[in-house]
Symmetry: D2
Subunit: 296 residues, 4 copies
């Protein structure tokens, strides 16, 4: 047997479950995209095709929909905890479950009651809940939160080598699509779980606030401010990782047309883009968010 | 010469122009994607490759950026009017110009002043401005306005043939991504142009309102209500066309798991989807929006 | 009644049907995405929500799958003809049916027999079949056929106005994603239908051949050559429309680094791009392909 | 200082470089998308915004284009080795460089010579080259290689719990989009590097061959066969990881229409889909490909 089976996982990905709660005439909606990944004693199915240890991915799908009824969806994280616990505790060959959830936000049409909704496009809320029978790891975050400062950003004083042609900038647009993923310190069933929805709202607000408030000399500095602000204000969070594309807005040269351009007209470029990624940790915490896992 | 050259047009597509206006410390942003299409005396360039009548597409791009400075961007429609007029009146071989614009909405971070913005994802505003030297045609609209009613939708009493298996529904989710395109009656430079931004806001509000208020027996009925409401309340608009995918939300059968599902848990399907398209016209108006032009 | 109901249509879009034919151990595959749009006597469903004339979109979906069994899929066009005829002739309120089909090509893994396939990514074949009970209109074509000439393309001698900064090019890359849609002259059930698969193959080959063979002074000229070649060599085709983005490949300025660039290193840009569109007609034919219908 | 700066990296992503080589009238093309990520002594830029250690991302972009001229592009991997070595050895604060490259394949139009190309859509070739001044890690692979077996696939004998409703399948379609990433054992500049292009071709062929040849009782088994075949036949490769979506093709129930369906007509579903992921290692090798890095 010349090969070893390394890390492996399987399950049903992208189960699109919508949960409605009717509170009299006022309805509430949760709109999720849930992916299940299970690991465990799976040597046989890989080597011989025996499915004796395999709970079908179709069953994992059914479980997602059934649990939406049985447990409701208070938050994506709480829903993921129910699912992960179920698979690990009910199936002997399953030793580890990882649930990933995207959540799409809806607002109300009209006066704040009723049953009519309009989807908010702003950002997608994401989470990943992992359970191995002993402890929990919960990552939460967001992606596609697009922000722009039209001033208070500079970039100068950088290294210049043979291939450097960039001119220094003393007043530029700074724009990015924020992808952020944070890790909660909560691991132990015996302790109270964080207020998942409240923490999300707080982290999101501080990310936006830090972006707006920082007079930026580099996108790295802005990133660091965002991370510090979240760690400082959210005691439940030990670690946060960002992936920030520098969405370049180039000042257009209007001189050939006899016009000035005093930071008024920009070309919004697609590719290439700068890409700034970093983890900010609470002092004493251990980094656990993988380098490339800023996008779930 | 065995062939005839039919309709043809050319220009630079998808010019991503961002225009900042600084009003003291309060900045304003317009974020556009502008496409130019020019037609005229172009037989030669097609047959021999002679570019003697061809204003380069690169020049049309430059013009977009220069005009953002020279004329500003009060609205996408007004900006498109400046561009279309310029190409037709300044270049003898150009007989017709069509400008298409997508506009992306931004909100403010924080208290409503300043220079920090967050992109609103809700919908994309679109417009198409056409000028032939004599008169104007302005189409405006939106796409990707995603809405959902969690009740007050039924579907029954339909035709049943050999291939019909659908069961009737007396309380279903109704969800769609609204694409709408309306045509303004304004054609004549001598008359005052509509209040483009105000009309957009009003049409959008009435589309949302009609969706929310209609107890729906078919998506066609909801579409028609949206259209009537816009025509009734916007005197500047003569015609509106919708393309409404019926984004199916299937009630999940939870009985095999011993559970009931009283309109609580749905599967949001991707494909296939119903697609409902129609034009609503003011009495006496002529239909001019092409059948397939609900998506610009 | 202040409004008129204009053009309207409905049906199930994007039915993803895969048809396997087993010829002993050699299997054959057809992979289609079929959209149905029906029009007719539909005033009531729009105004009152009465579905008495409405064959459900779900039924149109079922019909697509049932017809894949009953009629097989010799070609997308022949399949569309079966479907369109069925809806118009079997349902009194339906006066017109339009079937749109995308077809994805598969090749074989290995020696040309068996049951193992690999999807060819090259282009998507498209068609639109329309029937109104009296006659037929069949459009066929392709999209996303990406081609590039690394020489034999120039661009100079163009109009220069105040906003022109482009420098003339005497040896440039010419690249585009071909979207083409052609119309067959066939309209009458009494006449033999074209060899749909053979015509497609011939038109595609001539488009590629004309692109490769033309020494190009403008993308318009290349487009025209493609169209002429198809009209000249395919007697069944009366009209063809192209939409050709000019996918700019900019020569990178390497001088600041002490390097020459003799047409060796290019930056492939995303946006903006030139966009060239035109119809080529057989002499005496009438243009029927809508201006914006190069992408089905 | 309550926070620690964890793993961080920066650089210009998605540099779209096209390299033409003219060998008389026969041209050759390489079409790459190159992303640069640099790490090192970057505490200051994050904390104070000082860019004294920061080579601009714009410079990393320039370097990509300049190196396409200076070194040519024999293979994506060899090109990445040049780039990674350059950044680490020429910039003292840079301790580690990671280059990611996508390569798009082009075929020739016509007889195999000349300067006219058509893009092959089949799959995207990917690679990641990492250098820390001491040793190398090279990952290569592919994504979006879509394959389908129309028979010789079963699925039965699985675990059944309260939520299981799936019926066993004894003859089903098996289809997937192969994402594979393998790690070369090569680490040491002193040793000859692998034949990158030859290895790619061999690994790809064996993946396709194993897919076609395996009578499959589970997608895990097929995955394992693919991996074993690559490890067995490519001595240069120590480890391979796959991510295989189970692209469900559901047999359509035609009975309501009085029709049989003997594995002829299928519905190709979008979401949800099974997702099977695993690493296969050479005996004695250490797993280094991250769990979620099957898609670069």
């Amino acid at each position: 047997m010349p090969t070893i089976l390394g890390q492996n996982q399987y399950g049903k990905a992208e189960n699109r479950v919508v949960r409605i709660v009717r509170d009299g005439d006022t309805h509430h909606i949760k709109d999720l995209n849930v992916s299940v990944a299970l690991s465990g004693d799976m040597e046989d199915v890989h080597r011989s095709g025996s499915n004796a240890h395999v709970l079908p991915t179709d069953t994992t799908k059914n479980t997602v929909f059934a649990f939406a009824k049985e447990h409701g969806v208070e938050s994506a994280e709480a829903f993921g905890v129910h699912l992960a616990r179920h698979f690990v505790t009910s199936q002997e060959p399953i030793h580890r479950a990882r649930i990933r959830i995207e959540e799409y936000a809806w607002g109300r049409i009209g006066d704040g009651a009723g049953h009519s909704f309009v989807r908010q496009g702003r950002e997608t809320r994401v989470s990943q809940i992992t359970y191995d029978g002993a402890g929990w790891e919960v990552l939460s975050g967001l992606r596609d939160l697009t922000v722009l400062n039209s001033t208070d950003s500079e970039f100068w004083g950088y290294v210049k080598d043979r291939y450097t042609t960039l001119t220094e900038a003393y007043d530029r647009i700074l724009a990015t699509d924020v992808s952020a993923l944070w890790r909660y310190s909560w691991q132990d069933d015996g302790q109270a779980a964080p207020d998942w929805n409240g923490c999300y709202q707080r982290a999101r607000d501080h990310i936006l606030g830090a972006f707006a408030d920082t007079y930026s000399l580099s996108l790295q500095q802005t990133l660091h401010q965002m991370g510090e602000r979240v760690i400082d204000t959210c005691a439940e969070i030990d670690e946060i990782r960002f992936s920030l594309p520098n969405k370049h807005h180039f000042l257009v040269d209007l001189e050939p047309f006899g016009l000035t351009n005093e930071n008024e007209v920009y070309f919004a470029a697609d590719r290439p883009y700068g890409l700034i990624e970093a983890t900010i940790l609470r002092d004493g915490a251990t980094a656990r968010i993988p380098v490339d896992m800023t996008h779930l």
